[in-house]
Symmetry: C2
Subunit: 216 residues, 2 copies
Amino acid sequence: MNPVATPSLSTRERILDAAEHLFAQHGFAGTSMRQLTAAAGVNLAAVNYHFGSKDKLIAEVFQRRLDTMYQARLAALKRALATTPPQLEDVLRAFVEPALDLIHDGGSAFLRVMAHAYAETNEPLWRFLSERYGHVLREFGLALAQCLPDADRDTLHLRLDFLAGALTYAMSDLGLPRGADRAATREDQMRYQRIADELIVFSAAGFRAAFLPKPR
Amino acid sequence: MNPVATPSLSTRERILDAAEHLFAQHGFAGTSMRQLTAAAGVNLAAVNYHFGSKDKLIAEVFQRRLDTMYQARLAALKRALATTPPQLEDVLRAFVEPALDLIHDGGSAFLRVMAHAYAETNEPLWRFLSERYGHVLREFGLALAQCLPDADRDTLHLRLDFLAGALTYAMSDLGLPRGADRAATREDQMRYQRIADELIVFSAAGFRAAFLPKPR
DNA sequence: GTCTATAAAGTGATAGAC
DNA sequence: GTCTATCACTTTATAGAC
């Protein structure tokens, strides 16, 4: 149906784009190099030439998007922390909106790739993600503690997990039946913006909920 | 490390248990019949004899847990609707706690299997889930509308998606590095109970949050 | 109901020509 | 940097003995 991706991009980029879309739909193990190179319109051997192996290609698919996304999260968090005390909604927006920005960059499928990563037990991948981006999550934890001084650390961490789950799940819901070369439509963007706004309202209320008595 | 599962179970059940744990860790495509039958301590040909094919085995892994879980959700929802107006927390608990019950049945890995299903684009599987359990989700939608008469349907549906995402993600976080034959420990159960309680508090506040003006 | 053996196709990776 | 051809394996599934 859509065998060849935009030919104006470099071979390397076409492989990454095709990989992102196929990984989103079928997972890592469920996507073969043959499918992938056919969809990208490149030769089978090109993946190993440009990336070395399938595993290294997977890591590159993550790094390409997450470097940008976590940098944006950190920058937005810094801006939110400029006001004292920081506003909870601003901190949450700093977490959520960079995920939204993926859509403008043609990376709408990537959130579903993240969902696959969450579902899997892939030690090397998890260590890679944790080492490279863990400090940003820790900074969000500190910022949330500033917004909600009554909260204990465990509960805040749990609530941040709820937010991450809701974000990944609700956002990857969309943007699926699309070829590797099609940009997000205006409607897609509005729908995603709506989800982001609703998620901030929903989670802000959740974060402000009364804290349960510490167990034990 | 743990090649043979409990031998007191029938071949069929040992296959299902091994499949559930391996699917949880590596997904469907990432789990081979050879791995699976070796872990279950049964012959390679046994899967095809008992289930017909790998795909039918996958469907059976879902059906075994979801039939119980959705029946429990529906029963708990009925109880919550006995009081008028129904209490939001009761409705949310009816949705969340049956997932928790999986742990007592040794199905703690199953929530991660669900996470894989969400991440994937598997048309037949989605149709199966939607046809078999969709009506329960619609009943939850109606119940939530009774609890929150000011809400519009779209927003409620979105917030229910947030809850489902947070539930799947936060609950599948745990219960992983366990052999197919080990039961959940008392600590596991307490930790899961804590997550469930916190999730109900968090999402109840989220559901009660002010509703954004309708877009457009 | 369980086994062995094997068919038929697909897998990631690479050597070597151009 | 791109290609073809191919290696060495693994995959699901099944035929047929016991």
